[in-house]
Symmetry: C2
Subunit: 209 residues, 2 copies
């Protein structure tokens, strides 16, 4: 096991879980690194290295990895077998969309409260999640031990919101605003750049026309 698994290794781990769970659903008990590598278009050496970061299990020659144990090890390594509490700031259409998504719990994320600065929406419940005023943000984070802040405000106020989340105690920021935010070294930011993805798709179509 390696406490310092690279970000790209971490990003691949959910895909290994996906392959392992599919194989298991088909009744298989063992899988080799070369089969996983082939399914994901990855290099065999890379797969073995990634798996060694997350699990002390070795793949046995001619048999491979024991699927259930490997699933348990990866989930425990990532921490997705444990629930992290999150708050979401910015209840516009994207914020509402994410509040309505029930799949995050499968990955260990629970959004416990949402915040917005517009009085018209404060006090509403979106899929059972209360929208509170920004003034209550810091207290909620501290009282509930919230570690993840989800940012779905416009780009122009994303930095300000990130600063507030971090000051109140969040250690991880999931940023959906299409802008760069700066954070202290011990804080992790994961950017979800839907604008960047759309730029890649749109340019591809544009250059074909």
């Amino acid at each position: 096991m390696n406490e310092n698994a690279s970000k790209s290794t971490l990003q691949r781990l959910p895909f290994y879980l996906d392959v392992l769970k599919k194989r298991q659903a088909n009744g298989e008990e063992f899988v080799s690194s070369s089969i996983i590598a082939k399914e994901l278009n990855l290099n065999d050496v890379q797969v073995r290295k990634d798996l060694a970061s997350a699990s002390k299990l070795g793949g046995r020659p001619k048999v491979g990895y024991e699927i259930q144990e490997l699933i348990d090890d990866i989930q425990s390594f990532i921490g997705c077998d444990r629930i992290d509490k999150a708050v979401l700031v910015g209840v516009g259409s994207l914020g509402k969309a994410l509040l309505g998504y029930k799949g995050f719990l499968d990955y260990g994320l629970e959004i416990i409260e949402a915040f917005d600065s517009h009085s018209s929406i404060i006090g509403d419940e979106i899929k059972g999640i209360l929208v509170s005023p920004m003034e209550d943000l810091a207290e909620s984070i501290k009282e509930n031990g919230v570690k993840i802040g989800i940012i779905t405000v416009p780009a122009s106020v994303a930095q300000e919101v990130a600063d507030k989340l971090i000051e109140a105690g969040c250690k991880a920021i999931w940023n959906f605003a299409p802008t760069k935010i700066n954070v202290p070294e011990d804080i992790i930011v994961q950017n979800e750049n839907m604008a960047s993805s759309l730029a890649v798709l749109s340019r591809h179509l544009n250059s074909k026309n």
Copy 2:
């Protein structure tokens, strides 16, 4: 201009647009590459190279780039000044969330119809977008000239859906299913790996505890 701008250049272009629009909103007319680089924590040379991919404008010494012209050039290069039609397949909670998001139009994406295999939801409208049966998918893509397919089905059926989208004429796939999909060379896939992002955040919190 470079017809073969790299994917990472394309992914950065929306961030340049963000900086340019903020500066413009502040009443500025010109901006230097070094200011853009500083705001985005990028290298000055990288910024100038990226901008040269999208625009034939040069930054003038001591003055910089003319903001409005650079915005126009980048938008036209990406193609986000033009609307691309999309269909969404898989109207579960993530699919509904995306159908409810009104921000895609700003980036040139219009979802015109949704598809699902569950009869209980077929015929419903989600934020004005009709949910149709899978049998109608190919005809809708062909008739409406749809170029982008958005996949929000479970991982286990994502490949099958991608194959149908491509066979009907989609040239770009926006994949939100946490699995790898294989496509022909002339098709572009952009993966939105929320599971990967959550793995990075969760591991970071996990390793601190």
